[in-house]
């Protein structure tokens, strides 16, 4: 039997219930034993502008997304215009029949650049600048257009509140019906999505029924979808997973200044300040709590986290590019004074405020070079939910062990990816404590009497010591002595050598796939799973490929990376930036020069079909640089 593989897009106005629709669809499918992988895209706007969810549904766990989608649901006319080319022959487009008369120039919420672009596309095909034009295009391209009388179906079935309140449920319900998912699962999905608002469940179930009845009585052909036993899983985003990992890793103090896409992590932690979810809480402390502080700015956020670390508390902050820029100073201070602090860095499209709600991976070199002067810092990166969780734990561990700022890179795509995560292994990562001071009389916080560069850690309330961002002696007092300067610099930098020795290779770089392959992809961050899917897809086509996946950039696994790449035939670097930053880091550390690139910097996630297409072009030597442009 062919594995079910459905790619789905639900678009509508920001604030128009897209999230509930997404939750409902995910729940319905997961209860039917499926896996979901999805990404949320939205404008930097609160209400009105176009937003959408791109989903993939499989029984096996999907790791990437595909265009064209198999079914697209338009909860507003903008979706039809914006995603004209995200559907292809054989796809279904579901929309509200009321949109039929809608003109492009009335689409207030489409930005003018996008509108011009859509007009050009329509003009090129001699189509009218309205929904009819787009529909004509769909029909000519062999796409099934299904008009649903939204208001009529809703008004006939529910009577509380305006009809548009139920557009999302009707859209989701129609989709599930068209895909052939059992109606009971759809109902369960609704119950789950509205768990916190039980009052609205009943009317939403009526809307689902209306959707199913409509599809059943229409001439549309629907196959039934197989169902499987559901297994326990958690529906997490990258933000959720990282927050969870940090909590598991012992986080007790988090600071932040609101910024997209980082705030969600802190908001979630804030709602868990009262930690009611400890195992055997009584054995440890009666009650434990986490302190989350919304600061006046990012300068405050990093320095407050630094301060908290000095009492022995595991502390962290989370931000994205603009905030990280402000934190550079405080990160340098943590490096100089050897403070264990974690900075979770959610990358988004830059420079400056750039594309505030869109993806980017252009802050790798910035993270590596943050702060003036030379000091040890660690830069790690996560690429999927499990890594977000375990790296969240490890980042705190690394900070404690090596007494240095740990920068944990995540990209917006990963932060906003929804994925069903099976069981989490609570024993996978052991909690590492800092190297405690035992000499309270004459405590040398920066003792040079250490081979690995790690001096005993001091804790305010127990130890008396001094700290300064100036160069200092073993006690922590300011010095400008030339010999002491050398020794302190060497001691601090030694910690990176130690970390490199102690941290297992699989936490730094991993080669997925056959050692000997025709193509070697190099990537980091959210493209990990996408490229894993790419490799299996290519295998089906008889092409062998492997993936050198990078997880740690400082200390960098130079030797291993050099070894892998020296044996590779065709190396392709895949990143969401314009300059191939990871390739630069590789060249800097190993001398290996990567020549082929698949890059995307329009702020949207990379899809499987894009990589496959670009790979072919590179293999056929049509080009060495593929710039990807899909996405709305």
């Amino acid at each position: 039997m062919q594995e079910t593989d459905i790619n789905l897009l639900v678009g509508g106005p920001q604030g128009g219930g897209i999230d509930s629709a997404a939750n409902m669809i995910s729940m319905a499918f997961s209860l039917a034993g499926y896996n979901i992988y999805g990404i949320r895209e939205f404008h930097s706007n609160i209400k009105g502008r176009h937003s959408y969810i791109h989903f993939r549904i499989m029984h096996e766990r999907p790791k990437s997304l595909k265009y064209p989608v198999d079914i697209m649901v338009a909860l507003d006319p903008d979706t039809l215009f914006e995603h004209m080319f995200d559907v292809a022959q054989g796809s279904k487009v579901v929309y509200d029949s009321a949109f039929n008369t809608f003109n492009l120039k009335n689409a207030r919420m489409i930005t003018s650049d996008t509108m011009t672009r859509i007009q050009d596309e329509l003009a090129e095909r001699n189509l009218t600048f309205d929904v009819k034009g787009v529909l004509d295009y769909f029909k000519s391209a062999g796409i099934d257009v299904i008009a649903i009388p939204f208001d009529k179906l809703i008004n006939e079935n529910v009577h509380d509140g305006p009809a548009n309140r139920y557009y999302n449920t009707l859209g989701a319900g129609t989709t599930l019906a068209l895909l052939g998912l059992d109606e009971d699962h759809a109902d369960d999905g609704i119950k789950f999505a509205f768990k916190k608002k039980p009052k609205v469940i009943e009317s939403n179930i009526k809307v689902i029924k209306a959707a199913y009845d409509y599809v059943k009585t229409s001439p549309i052909k629907v196959a039934t979808l197989p169902t499987y036993p559901a297994t326990p899983r958690m529906l997490l985003t990258g933000n959720d997973a990282t927050a969870l990992g940090k909590l598991m890793g012992g986080l007790r103090f988090q600071t932040y200044y609101p910024i997209t896409p980082a705030s969600d992590e802190s908001t979630l932690l804030e709602s868990h300040e009262e930690m009611k979810f400890l195992k055997n809480a009584d054995d440890v402390v009666k009650k434990a709590g986490l302190v989350v502080v919304q600061c006046e700015d990012e300068l405050s956020a990093i320095n407050m986290a630094n301060g908290a670390a000095l009492t022995g508390t595991r502390s962290a902050t989370a931000t994205s590019g603009p905030g990280f820029s402000l934190m550079a100073e405080g990160i340098g201070y943590a490096g100089m004074t050897e403070i264990p602090v974690v900075i979770t860095f959610y990358q988004r499209g830059g420079p400056s405020t750039g594309l505030p709600t869109r993806n980017g991976q252009a802050d790798l070199l910035f993270a590596l070079n943050t702060g003036h002067g030379e000091f040890p810092k660690m830069v790690i990166s996560s690429g999927d939910m499990e890594e977000c969780i375990y790296d969240g734990m490890k980042s705190l561990n690394y900070a404690q062990r090596y007494q240095m700022p740990v920068i944990h890179l995540i990209d917006k795509t990963l932060a906003n990816t929804m994925d069903l995560v099976p069981e989490i292994d609570v024993k996978k990562v052991k909690i590492v404590k800092y190297n405690e001071n035992t000499n309270h009389e004459n405590f040398k916080r920066y003792s040079l009497d250490t081979e690995n560069g790690i001096s005993p850690y001091g804790v305010f309330g127990k130890d008396i010591f001094w700290m300064t961002g100036d160069e200092h002696d073993e006690l922590g007092h300011v010095t400008e002595d030339s010999a002491m300067r050398d020794k302190m610099m060497e001691k601090r930098m030694q910690k990176l050598v130690t970390a490199d020795k102690e941290i297992p290779l699989e936490d730094k770089a991993v080669l997925y796939g056959d050692e000997n392959a025709d193509i070697t992809y190099v990537t980091w961050g959210s493209q990990k799973s996408l490229l894993l899917d790419t490799i299996s897809e290519l295998k089906k086509q008889g092409i062998s490929a492997n993936l050198l996946y990078l997880r740690m950039f400082e200390p960098f696994p130079s030797e291993y990376v050099a070894k892998v790449l020296k044996n590779s035939h065709l190396i392709i670097d895949v990143e969401s930036n314009m300059t191939g930053q990871a390739a630069k880091v590789i060249r800097m550390n190993t001398g290996v020069n990567i020549e082929n690139f698949i890059l995307k910097y329009n702020g949207r996630h990379i899809t499987l079909d894009e990589v496959l297409r670009s790979t072919k072009n590179i293999m056929e030597k049509k080009t060495a640089l593929e710039v990807l442009q899909e996405g709305s």
Partner: protein
């Protein structure tokens, strides 16, 4: 250092590091007042943390026998708040210049008023940037020309007391670095006060400020408490409006007569630590710094399933 000894003055809060301030600098008086206050209160050195910014003032923690952090320019307050909130049992003193706290650190100065976390800010006011050689600090009046300025000051001045009151600090005072006894008693009162405090200390900088000299201040300062009817303390919410108003008006006085003493003390505003205690159970007993984060085998005590109960599927 021995702990647990009850005698007053048992601990020497001044260490043996050589002080490198200019002779005659007002900062010496501040160090004396701080050590006197800690000693009078019979503080355990382990329980006090000094946090400074950058500048001549920023060097202070190195001269004290308590844990000390000499942080970045302007950032002493956030740093101190991090220490305080993760371990509210500690007494946290912030020491910064007027440049540090009111220019580069102004946002934090205001932010801390809103938080009222319980840190005590000692603001060294010499109206100049000492360590960068005498430029105009935010407390220098418009048109004033101190020694190293090429032309008279082109910017207006901030009044630290009015700013502190407007920002929400629940304890606001001014002292003079040569009136060590009064300063040390204000520090003691500030430490005993639950919320955050600002103590502006008028501090001569004989090297760069040739206008506000020691004598200039001596001829002008007078103590608020010398007026027996002066009562800046708010113990009931109803008293606030009037006392805030009186303190605020008093803070505007400057020139021939400069008041020193406590302008405003409000004991009815809960501190951030107390507000947190209302959210996080047992926060004061088990603050973040005193919690265990792993079980006896070193594994996490967090149950991932229970954490996001609303997010699992069965």
């Amino acid at each position: 250092m021995q702990k647990g000894v009850e005698n007053k003055g048992k601990y020497n809060f001044r260490n043996n590091i050589t002080i490198d301030w200019c002779p005659g600098c007002g900062d010496f008086g501040i160090v004396s007042a701080v050590t006197q206050a800690l000693s009078n209160m019979n503080m355990d050195p382990d329980d006090v943390v000094a946090v400074s910014g950058i500048g001549c003032s920023g060097k202070t923690p190195h001269y004290l026998n308590i844990a000390g952090v000499h942080t970045l320019h302007g950032r002493a307050i956030p740093y101190a708040v991090g220490v305080k909130l993760s371990n509210p049992n500690l007494n946290v003193l912030v020491m910064g210049g007027d440049g540090d706290l009111l220019s580069i650190g102004a946002g934090h100065f205001v932010g801390e008023g809103r938080r009222n976390s319980g840190v005590k800010v000692i603001l060294y006011n010499n109206s100049v940037y000492g360590l960068t050689k005498g430029q105009a600090a935010p407390t220098l009046p418009l048109g004033e020309k101190v020694k190293s300025l090429a032309r008279p000051n082109i910017m207006g001045k901030i009044n630290p007391i009015t700013l502190a009151m407007a920002s929400g600090y629940s304890f606001v005072a001014r002292a003079f670095s040569s009136e060590i006894k009064q300063l040390s008693s204000i520090i003691e009162r500030a430490i005993k006060h639950e919320g955050s405090a600002v103590i502006e200390v008028l501090q001569p900088c004989p090297t760069y400020n040739d206008v506000n000299t020691l004598d200039w201040y001596r001829q002008r300062v007078y103590k608020l408490e010398d007026d027996k009817s002066w009562d800046p303390v708010v113990n009931k919410k109803e008293e606030d409006e009037e006392k805030f108003d009186t303190g605020y008006r008093k803070s505007l006085e400057w020139g021939d007569h400069i008041p020193i003493g406590i302008f405003y003390e409000n004991n009815t505003i809960p501190s951030y630590t107390n507000r947190l205690a209302g959210i996080v159970p047992d926060y004061l007993k088990y603050p973040p710094a005193l919690q265990d984060v792993s079980d006896k085998d070193g594994y996490t005590i967090v149950d991932p399933i229970k954490t996001f109960e609303e997010k699992d599927i069965e």
